[in-house]
């Protein structure tokens, strides 16, 4: 189909772009949307409606489109529910209609339309109940199949998305006349401006009209402004960028479509989701035209008048040879005038207002209403009712409807403020202070003339930055004259096209007493589709207002929520998916462990080696048992670099630490290490670790891997907020040092010859040492109970040291060991992890009841004495019956009690198979545990379905180990 000559400024008719729709090949031009190209090719039916499967055509020419939803692309890239009105055409674009089978022209499910009396609003509250047994087997699967609009591919999305942040003095939302003037005013004043525009071109409404500005075409004016803006380094023009939400603190979400219109984007992301931080923002988003509801107003060919004008001016397309116009305000006359100028036949202008006097060269019917449409798969004629009761048939294959304008105020209500109704324009306008820092101008503010847009946009920007007003070019300033007219009484008249909700449904909601707008919305599902009811909400609440007798103002709107248009979850995730979901933390010895064949486990963000399987080991227990025995009998090396390390220095270092820890530290001599516990303010144990005195007023704390950040925060809070008078310096150095445990009877032998100098440390001693001239730290501490040391070097030497250590111990019958073996070793000795220190235990629970008794005060001391606190005491458990299995997190019951929640006496915290003892062992927290040693209990794991008779024992399973001995 050829385009109208002299029209279609937005397309380049010299270039042809091939694309397919439902498998059929078509051609369009650069600048086309899928909707304009289809219409130019005579395609009228673009989809089937959600519930009734009625044929539907395109209604609009923008992102509010409710009908023409397409699947774009194939395979993993297939994207459903894409509006044909915003999808830019590109070579090879493949589009398919939705919600129809087997084809758009012949849809089996159109049966629903014939059964429509049974599918009214809320029908599913009254059906699918009997018989009850049918629900799971029949009704639910049926409903699942019928529900939803569009299909996902089910494959991982291959596209890349970026997330980014931008800052500005002024964010202008919408590059129509108001936005362009505002951006220009602020831009010329040197302010940092971001002008965000949803379309791929500036101009807004100017692109769809024949409007003059300053005596020239509005388009030329807009191009000139755009060129000047692009020349200013402080102005950023972001086309194809929808501001999707307004949030706290002057931040706005915005979705930029970087490559949705590009066939081969290569390495570019498909979209970027922006967080824009704006000191001020201007909502110059224009307005959306309204439909009027009348019988069968959803027939393909019934469109918004402003959309007909846009398809004419911007795309050079009129989707039919005979056009009728139905309007309740003066704007509708513009459609007739523009079409007549283009040489199109206007078969009637139907104005609801009896006193209207349009001066047009076409048949005019005033005080009249469209009461029905007819035509199979598209409009062919309509029925008009006159004020005297008579009816006329009008021939038309396009009906351009103008029901008034709704300011696009959504962003202004995203923080909960409700918009304000104005009777004079029969529309809602944004609440003035709905979003701090956001003001509206132009049509978004309810000022619909071009002059008002230019003036307001410039004025607001000028006022914000104390600038003089720039020259406002001449433009039309027609007043808004509208007589509210929402719907024509009669057969089914559509309000929400996307969710298939009619006036009858709203009336039903009213009859069933769902009369508030929020109830009406949920009961009818009006406004709940992907278009958020942009065309449906206002007429629906106006009709509800009529029914209840309340004013529209009192009836109010439902809550507006971001995003303004649909945003893919992928765009919100950005690069954080798959392996990059979270950053990975690696110890300095990571690569060495990897080479040694380590298996890995996640410890928070850290990757930690859990096992070092030998070549012939097939099952993890083989490795774990071997590593445990290796440490108990020979020597093993374990990477403990991930534990938190914090240095505390200064004259008041001891004062601070003594208040923070329950453990007394005043007697800790230089070069000594002490095991220490710290409490939360509420008296429960927060973390355990060691305190080493490196110098006179210099201490080094260790924390568990998982609590490093928490302990540092806690220390900083104490030093900065509780006791700022203390002269103390806190230095987090976790990543500065690589640290390795060397444990086992041959541990000292392994170190001899490694260090520059002899190894001679008492148990719980510390010494600064050197390795090949490198300053290192040696601690004699043991988490395994065996003779043990920890050796720390600056991180850059960590890889080399780990490799050296593994080689040295290999010659002694030892090797590397991982977290699994580390865990078995410590459970055998009754040492703690956060499985026991779970935030609910007291010092006494853990067997440290007398810790801190001698101290004046420390954090948590007071609250630790509250009656009823804690009470689950640390004990050991071992299997005592036929079943030999223990599981972690299982519940403990007295033998005579039923294993139900009310009879819980405690739970297992950590379990392991002890290769030394030959059976499973566990640590547990048990009511009055210490008094019950020797008794039998029933352990029940309801999740894994394991029941084991256990004996309560001391948590120290292996008493005699070499750790504390002289050596």
């Amino acid at each position: 189909m050829t385009r109208l000559a002299r029209y279609g400024h937005g397309v380049d008719t010299g270039v042809s772009i091939p694309f397919t729709f439902d498998g059929k090949p078509y051609c369009g031009h650069p600048g086309d949307t899928l909707a304009s190209a289809l219409q130019a090719n005579g395609v009228r039916v673009m989809g089937r409606s959600f519930k009734y499967h009625r044929p539907r055509g395109v209604l609009s020419a923008d992102s509010t489109e409710p009908n023409a939803l397409m699947e774009i692309g194939t395979g993993a890239e297939r994207l459903p529910n894409t509006r044909a009105t915003t999808q830019e055409l590109f070579e090879g674009l493949s589009a398919r209609s939705q919600n129809r089978w087997p084809s758009l022209g012949w849809d089996v499910m159109a049966l629903n339309d014939m059964l429509s009396p049974f599918f009214g609003a809320g029908f599913y509250y009254k059906t699918f109940m009997w018989p009850a047994s049918f629900w799971e087997k029949l009704y639910e699967p049926l409903i699942r199949r019928a529900a939803g609009l569009g299909r996902l591919s089910g494959l991982p999305d291959p596209a890349r998305y970026d997330k980014a942040t931008a800052h500005c003095d002024l964010l202008v939302i919408g590059a129509g006349p108001a936005g362009l003037m505002a951006a220009l005013t602020a831009g010329r004043a040197g302010k940092r401006v971001i002008l965000a525009e949803e379309e791929p071109l500036v101009g807004g409404r100017l692109n769809g009209e024949a409007i003059e500005i300053g005596g020239h075409s509005g388009l030329d004016w807009a191009s000139g402004i755009r060129d000047e803006l692009q020349s200013l380094p402080n102005v950023t023009l972001m086309l194809r960028t929808t501001v999707t939400g307004a949030y706290d603190g002057g931040t706005y979400g915005a979705l930029q479509r970087v490559a949705d219109h590009v066939p081969n984007p290569a390495e570019a992301p498909r979209q970027t989701f922006w967080n824009i931080v704006a000191r001020h923002a201007l909502l110059t988003s224009g307005a959306h035209e309204r439909m009027i509801a009348f019988a069968n107003n959803d027939r393909p060919g019934v469109m918004l008048g402003s959309a007909v004008r846009t398809y004419l001016h911007r795309f050079g397309v009129v989707p039919g040879q005979r056009v009728a116009v139905f309007t309740n305000n003066n704007d509708g006359w513009r459609t007739a005038r523009d079409l007549l100028d283009a040489g199109v036949t206007v078969t009637a202008l139907i104005d609801t207002r009896a006193d209207a006097v349009p001066d047009l060269d076409c048949p005019v019917m005033t005080g009249a209403q469209v009461v029905n449409t007819a035509g199979r798969l598209g409009l062919e004629r309509l029925t008009v009712a006159h004020s005297d009761g008579s009816r006329t048939q009008v021939n038309a294959n396009v009906l351009a409807v103008s029901g008034g304008w709704n300011p696009a105020l959504h962003l202004g209500s995203h923080m909960g403020a409700r918009p304000v109704w104005r009777d004079d324009i029969a529309a809602f306008v944004p609440a003035g202070d709905g979003v701090p820092g956001l003001r509206a101008a132009g049509a978004a503010h309810g000022d619909f003339s071009t002059h008002a847009a230019l003036q307001n946009g410039a004025q607001l920007a000028a006022d914000l930055f104390g600038q003089d007003l720039p020259d406002i070019p001449q433009a039309e300033d027609a007043p808004t004259t509208i007589t509210p007219f929402w719907h024509v009484a009669g057969k089914r008249a559509w309000l929400d096209f996307q969710n298939d909700v009619t006036v009858k449904d709203v009336q039903l909601a009213h009859r069933e007493n769902f009369r508030s707008v929020e109830h009406m919305k949920r009961y009818t599902t009006l406004g709940m589709a992907t278009d958020q009811g942009k065309h449906a909400n206002v007429p629906a609440l106006a009709i509800m207002a009529e029914l209840t007798g309340q004013s529209i103002s009192d009836t109010g709107t439902t809550i507006y929520r971001p995003p303004y248009t649909p945003v893919q979850i992928g765009a919100l995730a950005g690069r954080q998916k798959g392996a990059h979901f979270a950053p990975e933390r690696r110890s300095p010895a990571h690569a060495v462990a990897l080479k040694a064949g380590a298996k890995w486990v996640d410890a928070g963000l850290w990757k930690r080696a859990s096992l070092f399987p030998a070549r012939d080991e097939k099952y993890w227990r083989q490795t774990c048992d071997r590593e445990v025995l290796m440490v108990r009998n020979n020597v093993g090396v374990c990477d403990v670099s991930t534990l938190g390390k914090i240095e505390v220095l200064g004259p008041d270092a001891l004062t601070l630490l003594d208040r923070v820890y329950a453990t007394g530290l005043a007697t800790l001599a230089q070069n000594r290490v002490r095991y220490a516990l710290m409490l939360r303010e509420d008296g429960l144990v927060m973390d355990d670790g060691t305190v080493t005195r490196l110098g006179q007023a210099h201490y080094l704390l260790s924390t568990t891997t998982g609590a490093a950040g928490q302990v540092l925060s806690h220390l900083e809070f104490c030093a900065q907020c509780l006791w700022p008078e203390l002269d103390v310096q806190i230095a987090a150095v976790s990543d500065q040092w690589a640290q390795f445990a060397i444990a086992g009877p041959k541990a000292r032998t392994a170190l001899e010859g490694l260090l520059d100098g002899a190894v001679d440390l008492p148990f719980m001693g510390y010494a600064p040492v050197r390795i090949g001239g490198v300053d290192a730290r040696l601690f004699r501490i043991s988490y395994s109970g065996e003779l043990g040391y920890e050796l720390a070097v600056p991180a850059r030497f960590g890889a080399a040291l780990f490799a050296t250590l593994i080689k040295r111990v290999a010659s002694l019958g030892g090797g590397a060991y991982g977290l699994e073996a580390l865990n078995v070793l410590r459970i055998e000795k009754g040492f703690l992890t956060h499985a026991e220190i779970d935030g609910r235990v007291t010092l006494d629970d853990l067997g440290f009841g007398r810790m801190g008794a001698a101290k004046e005060d420390f954090i948590g001391q007071e609250m630790a004495h509250r009656p009823g606190l804690g009470g689950l005491q640390l004990v050991g458990v071992k299997p005592a019956g036929v079943v030999r299995q223990l599981t972690g997190g299982a519940l403990l019951f007295d033998l005579e009690d039923a294993p139900v929640r009310e009879n819980m006496r405690g739970h297992t915290t950590s379990v392991a198979f002890s290769p030394v003892l030959g059976h499973m062992i566990g640590l547990a927290l048990l009511q009055d545990g210490r008094a019950r040693i020797g008794e039998q209990l029933r352990m029940v794991d309801h999740v894994r379905d394991v029941t084991t008779i256990c004996e309560v024992v001391s948590p120290v399973f292996i008493e005699q180990t070499g750790g504390q001995g002289n050596g």
């Binding site: 942040t165 570019a268 992301p269 933390r585 690696r586 030497f797 080399a800």
Partner: protein, 153 residues
């Protein structure tokens, strides 16, 4: 006597690299010390240069000791070029356009702890050591993205 070799923090990450209008390179390695008060001329919060900058309450990092050594903890990179700001916009929430040499900021860079100091032609970025592989992967991805988008226009 045992010899321990020192690992370069960004070895094996194919640096330096140039993509479009940005370059990423390992910065010159310098010793770093955490120092407390008790020294004259310490910069105010948020201020400093790579030789001496504010780090936290009562804490600064200096290339001169004495102090607690943190050299290994904060390996440094230089991100330079005309599009360095556009790359940074995709990595952190800082107002990089407004930042000037003489300022320092501690941020999450692609969710990794980092210290950012503006240079005349880009940014000096110190990364917390254990996060550096993940951070570099994300920086390179952002560079690639910005370079590819420039080709689209």
């Amino acid at each position: 006597m045992v010899e321990l070799s020192a690992e370069k923090p960004f070895a094996g990450m194919h640096l330096p690299v140039q993509m479009g209008q940005t370059a990423l390179a390992a910065a010159q390695a310098v010793p770093l010390f955490l120092i407390g008060t008790g020294q004259a001329g310490l910069p105010a919060p948020g201020r400093g240069d790579p030789a001496l900058f504010w780090y936290a309450d009562n804490a600064w990092i200096s290339t001169q000791g004495p102090g607690v050594e943190v050299t290994d903890m904060w390996p440094g990179l230089d991100l330079t070029g005309a599009d360095a700001g556009a790359v940074m916009a995709r990595l952190c929430g800082l107002d990089v356009q407004a930042m000037q040499p003489g300022q320092v900021a501690r941020v999450d860079l692609a969710h990794c702890p980092a210290i950012v100091l503006p240079l005349d032609n880009g940014f000096h970025i110190k990364l917390m050591r254990s996060f550096r592989e993940s951070a570099v992967v994300m920086i390179l991805a952002a560079m690639k993205s910005v370079a590819a988008q420039a080709l689209l226009d």
